[in-house]
Symmetry: D2
Subunit: 421 residues, 4 copies
């Protein structure tokens, strides 16, 4: 990809600056009228080729939309990471990776190669791996499996999604290559059901009707560690969200995943219905929609929108966040205590491993027999799990001073050390 | 990889809890005595197979070490991401990716496949791509190129590194496969020098002598956006650090890169000298050393140490950071102003895209004709570039109220909106 | 393959020296007790692992047998070249190669790769290509297609062959990989029927019961240009026999076809039922049977028998046939004719392109005005088509001499110039 | 390839009908002006693009030429099978195949893949394998190796061939990919010299200057079992000729070898100098020359000429030769012997395995106590080695009858049973 033009963001509309940002990337994408509608089934050719929309959902729960963000289309391959997540939630990582790998394939979406030694599809985001994921979902029939998948997708989207019956009928009628992949994995022993049941569930899953707003909320649920920021529902566990995001990072854009990570840095997945889902972990989810596809089957304008957003607003997941400020805002001496007096360390900001490391490295020498070291977390907004465990244990490790008072105390009025679980 | 045992971290030593953590993972790794020394040149077989060390360097500048962290070994393939970074710094991304791809290869380190259409090696972390990177560094001779590479590696390590002459002699004498790769890329038109010059520089680069502490500092420089946290020197730009980290994420562990991202989540690169470099972006770099290698050429105990560290302390780069606290700590009404009074929003913590989005979404409705909205950044520790630009522009966009006073004002005593550049 | 011991053939039994030769190669093969029965379906594990037999059928119609040459087993993949031949006979080469390639695959029998541009399986002797061949045979149902295939195999074998129903049931129940291949080719547009119909016919075809004698006669039919030397029936045309033999030569032993051609030089095809069919074009067909298979799925002892036969008796299809004798046995002057006298050239042996070339080159200068050149084919045993056409045209080209008599005349009492068609 | 038009051969010129046949295929080829001169070195672009020639050399020693059959060009890859043969002659098959495989590669001529387990190039007709063959030829320097190769090529061509020094200089200057292949095989342990020595010999070998007549004679030497039909010199052994022809059959046309065998059936090898060598074993060699190449690097018109020749004159090596005549011309009773009388079997034609089989099968029952069976080989033109051994042993096996006379006697005035060795 060529480098983008330099761009100085402006705020044309104080009322919704995020919507204004989305509007401006739609404007960049609109002139890209190359590409073609998917045509392998007639239903997909009926989409309006000019449709263009995007939505962004923050992990804090607000949604911003622009253009045709509520026009529906079928989810197609965008369903794959979410059904992978549902399979992980149901069966755990160890069981799931007995059935599918997590390596980029260097091949197109419909690649037929399985790992020679294990018979596993290379990852859950190519068709073969996605069909295996559908086969692992509980249920004896395609309808039973799909009922669970459907409920899961609804939870990700925070609303009841429809099934597009006519797309499903067509997928079912023309899905010979997917049937081939299903039989291949069945033969290799990695499919969790019969080939017919697995493809039956998979064709339904691909035919679920969504809009860009739905995709943004689904992605925001992943970005938020598995808890839907709109409904507040925990859809999947934090581990499952992390594993899913990892695989989207490595494999989400098929044989261009490495290029995408270098240039855009927003884990993503596209579908031939014209949708793309993307996210910045811990921050937001995005859904885009524009039905004309490039030769790889990705929405032409969706790619433009995501790349423009990333470049203009520095949204690459590995964008440097600037020099760290010290989490130690202030060290105060409280001399009211006789015989030495306490030291109060006022901490602030977000404290993860490296922040905890700084606090411990700088303050440990102060712990001794001459008073208590008080760690004040009142202005700390977030503490990582491992960091929190380190701090919580400190008073016990430090023990009592000669005056019988603890050498270390922790002040945590908002409970930031308690954790999110 | 099997799931690790649950582990409750403790702090056996208040003086250096991070060193204590490293000690404990060395204890986990020590019993893993499988694997074998690299043997393709005699020099590598002379390493002490029991040597074991690790170091962690924080982006805040402190270094913690454990075991044989100052025992030297040759850097070998660990040099690859750093020379890729030097080539990017010198020539820019557009020029570099004319010569090398950034896709995972799904193949071993010495893979010979080039992209059919372009003749590019698949990525800069396989030998073919690494040799092309060395060839791009300025200089007419191998010695001239190496002089620049050497200076760059020294800057990453914050000290003068030695060249192991006897390893270099052996690499040069036995490097036929690497010569083959060089001639192949020369023939494909992607090499930046003659094959002899390129391999001459590359063999020297692989023979640079380092220790685990060096690797930790080199990685911490990448994690810190390109500025060496020990020396304070800016070695490479932020963009180059981001591109380099992206490629380590996708391609660093060859054909197990996807697996590594799911299970460990610390971008890494190993060398047959026994070293591994790893990092968590924005947080720290790690170097490990243990010379026995597995079948893929990775240090057996190095892998164990990194996986254990990641799992015990939740260091996966995509680990969920917990529910976000609102950056708006407090909204105060200052009624001292006649005719309406100002609203003071006291912000806190780290504010990136989603945090800015929350502030703007919640506070924009308060902007009007009845007083000034004051955004107080005094307790904010870090603001992302795009977020800072949004905030800086607000007073101008909002304009003046009917009383001639600004509708929005910004209070930023520590200059967190000014940025790091 | 290692070089064989030198061997001096002897004739222990004047009554049937060919049978004696077969007996001796069975003796060489018998101690090879390595390998294992095919076990993917239970029926194949019930074979007697010690069974050992061979048969040789000459293109002149005699059959020689040794050992368990009438023990039946299922034909399995040995059916593939014969059904390819039936498809060619039915539809012609141009139509057939729209559906399947003729290149060696460098891959195992169950390879799933199709030609990227055309969607064709690489050749008709791997499973995917064989299933496509079965799909091309006329018939709307699997039973109809199989009825035609069955009749064709019967014609090749010169007897009514049975279908092993229990093997067929098992193949049908476990054939998921073959179903995958069928769906894959259906999806690529190269299958001639639905996947279910094609695999239904294919599973039946593989379950036909044969013995080594049958295979020898089937192969001899190919060696004899398509006419069954036992029944005298023309089963396929000469072109079809040549195309089929060509593909067996290039692709018959999967990824060891080149090795087989160098070392054995008898176009062949093996099946997991334990049978191997082989042939020397123009000379004979061979069938062998021994059910223990090597890792590639070939009968261990069958391979030994064929290699031993080839080496001991110089049966490699490219074995040099010795210095050619001149086809001109004698030039006689017949002076009874007044005014010059005729020249009678007595020809002999087999005359193909190079022999015709010699005759024409040497005798053309003798044609002139002084008498007739008589070409006497009485002792010629065979003349190739192109050579025959050259000779037949000669009298017309040479025209009449000044005495009104032809300058060239042909004497062909046995009609060797008339051809076989 | 599409099917050719039906064609009825005629004999426009009685003086040299073979030349007339060559003239007619040149006429077919001449209008094919597509393709382009090789351009990777400037020397090859200086060829006359309209040059067109062909020659045919019979194993009986005559040569027929048409068009620019004595225009010289560099031999390039056409040298490969001949140097393979020289390596086989020097070192034997067992040693040679430790260094190179004999399987078709399914890849282009400059494929870089080696067999994973052995490090061998896939076959000696791709560049990597050809360079390994050159490296195996005796000699410490490139010049010494080339001296031996040169002498061998001269013996194949029956004249002293020149080296085109300017082509050699260019090959040497631009041969990076070939150097890569050499280093790769050196690294894999399959090269027989250093990479520089091997490529030095190889570049010289490719730069030898030949014409179509030379190629025809070289190929005729292979077709004649290794004895040059022009000079009478035995250049290589029969085994070596057979192995070489086998590999040309499987691998001679790279990834179109299977297609070539089906459609043309004349083992062949092309070179980017515009030459193609082809042959029918036991019959003739052909050389063609026309320098415009197709996308695969084969002479466009050369391909047309060979395909036309094969189709018009039925020259496919597997062309059915017609129904076999019995080698038993006549059975006579000689009653002059008292008490039974002898049986005289007058044999004729060429007698190989199947012919011997017929003779033995039909005549064995006649051997008994009542007189001698005389096998008269006077009119037999050729007997295969194995068949000859069978016949020669018969008198001993049959022993003496009660009258003390042999039961079987052999009459062989021309010594056809003695063999060619």
């Amino acid at each position: 990809m060529a480098d983008a033009e330099p761009y100085e963001p402006t705020i044309p509309d104080l009322r919704d600056p995020i919507r204004a940002a989305l509007d401006s990337v739609l404007d960049v994408a609109r002139p890209h009228t190359d590409g073609a509608l998917a045509s392998y089934i007639p239903e997909l050719t009926r989409a309006d080729p000019e449709a263009l929309g995007a939505a962004l959902a923050s992990v804090r729960g607000s949604v911003h939309e622009s253009g045709d963000s509520e026009t529906t289309f079928t989810i197609q391959s965008v369903s794959k990471p979410f059904v992978f997540a549902l399979a992980l939630e149901q069966s755990g990582l160890a069981e799931v990776i007995r059935h599918v790998g997590v390596e980029p394939s260097g091949e197109p979406f419909n690649a037929i190669s399985l790992e020679p030694a294990t018979g596993r599809p290379l990852n859950p985001l190519i068709n073969a791996g996605a069909i295996v994921m559908s086969s692992l979902i509980t249920g004896d029939t395609a309808a039973e499996k799909f009922a669970i998948i459907h409920a899961g997708l609804n939870a990700f989207a925070a609303r009841e999604l429809d099934l597009d019956e006519s797309v499903f009928e067509s997928e079912h009628a023309t899905g010979d290559r997917n049937r081939a992949l299903a039989y291949l994995t069945q033969s290799a022993g990695t499919l969790g059901s019969t080939a017919e049941v697995a493809t039956g569930a998979y064709f339904r899953q691909c035919s679920v009707s969504v809009n860009a707003r739905d995709l943004a909320i689904m992605a925001a649920t992943l970005a938020n560690g598995g808890r839907n920021p709109i409904s507040g529902e925990r859809v999947i566990g934090e581990d499952v969200a992390r594993w899913t995001t990892s695989v989207m990072t490595s494999c989400g854009m098929y044989d261009a995943s490495g290029d995408w990570l270098v240039h855009v840095g927003l884990p993503a997945k596209s579908g031939v219905g014209g949708g793309i889902v993307a996210m910045q972990p811990e921050e937001f989810g995005i859904g885009t929609f524009s039905p004309r596809l490039d030769a790889r089957g990705n929405s032409v304008r969706g790619i433009v929108m995501l790349r423009t957003l990333s470049e203009r607003y520095g949204l690459h997941m590995l964008q440097h966040r600037g020099a760290p400020h010290s989490p130690i805002a202030q060290l105060e001496r409280d001399d009211r205590v006789e015989g030495g007096g306490d030291t109060i360390a006022r901490l602030r900001g977000e404290v993860f491993f490296a922040g905890a490391e700084e606090v411990l490295t700088r303050l440990a020498p102060l712990v001794g027999d001459g008073g208590c070291l008080v760690l004040d977390f009142s202005n700390v907004t977030r503490v990582g799990d491992a960091a929190a465990a380190l701090f919580r244990g400190l008073p016990d490790v430090a023990g009592l001073g000669p005056d019988g008072r603890p050498r270390v105390a922790v002040l945590d009025p908002e409970g930031v050390l308690v954790g999110d679980a």
